[in-house]
Amino acid sequence: MKKKPTRIPNTIQETASWIQDQLGASPDIILRAYSAEGAGAERVVLVYIDSLVDNDTVNSKIVRPIQELSEEAFERFDERGLYALMKDRILGVGSIAEIDTFDHVIQSLLEGNTIILVDGYQTALAAQTAGGDERGVEEPTSQTVIRGPKEGFTENIKTNMSLLRRRIKSPKLRFVQQKIGEVTQTSVVIVYLDGIANQKIVKEITRRLSTIDTDSILESGYIEEFIQDRTYTPFPTLQNSERPDGIAAGILEGQIAIIVDGTPFVLLAPVTFNRFFQSSEDYYQRFDIASFLRLIRYGSFLASMLLPSLYIAITTFHQEMIPTTLLISLAAQREGTPFPAIVEAFIMEITFEVLREAGVRMPRAIGSAISIVGALVLGQAAVQAGLVSAAMVIVVSFTAIANFVIPSMNMAAASRLIRFGLMILGGTFGLFGIMSGLMFMLIHMAGLRSFGIPYLLPVSPLSINNLKDVFIRAPWWRMSKRPTLVSEPEAETRQGKSQKPEPPNTDPAHEGDRG
């Protein structure tokens, strides 16, 4: 439903009244007319929205130069001359666009530009003056690291772009902007490295973004749901991050970042399953501890999914698998509890989820109260009252803690949801149920794709070169290949070979001895 663009009319009165008409009588719309002294007729009009512009810039770079314009200038130049004078001499702003339709005028006003209209001339000038109050670059709250940069993305897309540009100083870094959202007109920028990102995936992402037809985009989550490969899956097929270094690393491996104005969470696509277990800190620490932590994370993921269901299955169906002494103490604990294991587990798991949600929503000041209530009332008292067994409390709390180990929140959420399904399976079919559930999950994941890339990529289909950064993190000089399929085939080699550091052959301590 594209209307034919209407051109700006000749007279500024007409334009000015049209603009006021379109935007309503908001107090923050400033219209300022200039005329030659005494002559009466207005020759130049400035329009801007007070709440969107940086007032300093407008005042010192636009308003003042126009005011200081001499009387003769106003009289001597015709509209063409005046326009050129404005554009080339007067306006002290770097980025000036020439626009000639009403739609563009409105849009550019809403982006925080200042519009300069010259009477009798059908083209307007839009000077970039966007500003206003914004949060500065701070430490990201969601993905904290001990070693590594502490900068985080902000809500401002310009800042975010500059954070990336500063990290990758390559002429091949490409930013492609789109406006999405009929009403919100949100800027969405695709970032990739030309020649390294797979061109087909770039095209596919651009295509999917351009097919979005909605009124509003307020957060990158909107975009994620519109462009992901499959909706009905617990597994995320796009990654998000608040950390510029993490996003830059992804871009350097051929991934494509999607920055959405108004949110510090930047999307990365395509992703594979293993990426959700990588933290940017892995690459800043020594490789041995990083590899160890990787394994811990995969283990925690499995534990947070499986532990309650295994406990249920084994205590309900397969008691013979528990070593005898443990079995006796378990039986003694469970003797007093009124519920079957699965009900008990469900009560405790749901309680924990409630606690967790309460912890997020609660005002910070009361936050610590929650942990006391949680630990004392639910842990201690519930066991003493004989409602749940102590072993169950251990299982549930370890599950909960294991869940926090997963670096990516959306993958942690997946394991939280799957856990409940597996608990039901374990409670009804025992180990067989759990195995079936896991097999179902595996089939599902093997069929999953993220922008055409198989979800389990370096493992299946197997790519031996890329296994160096999956379960372990090999030393940097060993990881010489970028992920296959994700990056452009010709650009798979990332760095030179055989860069293993070695001490010099000559021992500096005895250098002098040799003579």
């Binding site: 596919e204 079919f429 067989f432 198989p454």
Partner: protein, 371 residues
């Protein structure tokens, strides 16, 4: 979209083909004692069967595919056996594949009831199994082979861990394999042929449905034969382990490997390893039943020119109902050994492929002669 093969033809890589063959061949057979009639020489009988199966593969099954690299079994049958005869044989193969899948599903269901879930209705377990396989088939050939690729390292790791603990727990006594050939070679041969050829070594015929999807045709024989040999040697080895830990009486036990591992006790900590055997059993049988299910569905969709996902429903229903037709576990084991292994299966595994190879060679010969 991107890495799929050209024109929607699903492709599998050589890792995938190899892992598919290995998991399919090993299946559950390494958990059981094959050729138990040969007593302590069962492993020799298994070796003989493996070599025979190797020859079958080398001289019959592989040449069929090599002469028509781009076609699957149904297409080859229809090209060389004539439209109607080919269609009838192909239909018979659909039934054969489905039947093989039925046997695996049913056997697994029964074992689950015996070992893990004594109070659960059999039909529910069977339904879950058929549903799981059906889901894998629904996702397609590529996804199925990706699953095998993912599972192979896990399976190998568990086997290695179990065998290591078995060896170090001191219950494996290789002197139980003696005396070698107590009653001469004859009973060993009798045990091997045709029983062990049919199961598991002759089952490679099902690959005629999958080979045409392999993306590197020149390597096909090498990858296939290597994976076959690997799984064959592996089965013989586990057979020896079973014999050496439980002696020749282990044919009395439903899952001897599980029995063997249940004796493991090391330092009072490492014991009760049977859940791991249950995992092996689960993956092995699952892969096997799904392979046959997939083969039946592919054959069905090829023969009746229908969409794969549509062919899934009748075949799935056939398998589920077929599973329920056996009255008991014993009945199915008994029919298995009395009829199928001796009469039915050799037809599909040996005689039809052999005939097909002859026909193909003759046609080729005459074509050349005419020119």
């Amino acid at each position: 979209m991107i890495p799929r093969g050209s024109e929607g033809m699903e492709k599998i890589s050589h890792y995938q083909l190899a892992s598919g063959i290995i998991l399919f061949q090993i299946g559950s057979s390494s958990l059981f004692l094959l050729a138990s009639n040969a007593k302590q020489d069962a492993w020799i009988a298994t070796s003989i069967a493996m070599i025979a199966g190797f020859c079958l593969l080398l001289f019959v099954t592989l040449p069929i595919q090599k002469m028509e690299p781009g076609k699957n079994l149904v297409q080859i049958l229809q090209t060389y056996m004539g439209k109607y005869a080919g269609a009838i044989i192909a239909a018979a193969y659909i039934l054969y594949f489905s039947y093989k899948s039925i046997r695996n599903v049913r056997e697994f269901g029964d074992l689950m009831i015996v070992y893990l879930l004594p109070n659960t209705p059999l039909s529910v377990i069977l339904l879950i199994l058929v549903f799981l396989s059906g889901y894998a088939v629904y996702q397609g050939l590529e996804v199925f082979f990706r699953i095998t690729e993912f599972l192979l390292p896990i399976v190998v790791f568990i086997y290695a861990a179990l065998i290591l603990t078995l060896l170090s727990s001191g219950i494996v006594h290789f002197e139980r394999l003696e005396p070698l050939l107590e009653h001469g070679i004859k009973p060993v041969f009798d045990a091997a042929i045709p029983e062990v050829i049919s199961f598991p070594f002759g089952e490679m015929v099902v690959l005629l449905m999958f080979w045409s999807h392999y993306n590197n045709k020149p390597n096909m024989s090498r990858v296939t034969l290597a994976s076959y040999l690997f799984s064959g040697v592996f089965i013989i080895f586990t057979n020896m382990i079973i014999l050496a830990s439980l002696s020749a009486t282990s044919f009395l036990i439903a899952i001897p490997f599980m029995m063997g591992t249940s004796f493991i006790q090391i330092a009072g900590i490492i014991e009760r390893m049977d859940p791991f055997v249950a995992i092996l059993l689960f993956t092995g049988v699952f892969i096997k039943q799904t392979t046959y299910f997939l083969a039946a569905v592919l054959a069905c969709s090829e023969l009746f020119k229908m969409k794969r996902r549509k062919a899934l429903i009748p075949i799935g229903a056939l398998i589920f109902i077929g599973c329920l037709l056996f009255r008991s576990h014993m009945e199915q084991v008994w029919t298995g050994f009395k009829y199928n292994v001796v009469f039915h299966f050799p037809i599909f595994q040996i005689w039809i492929p052999a005939a097909l190879v002859l026909v193909m060679l003759l046609k080729k010969y005459f074509k050349r002669a005419r020119i």
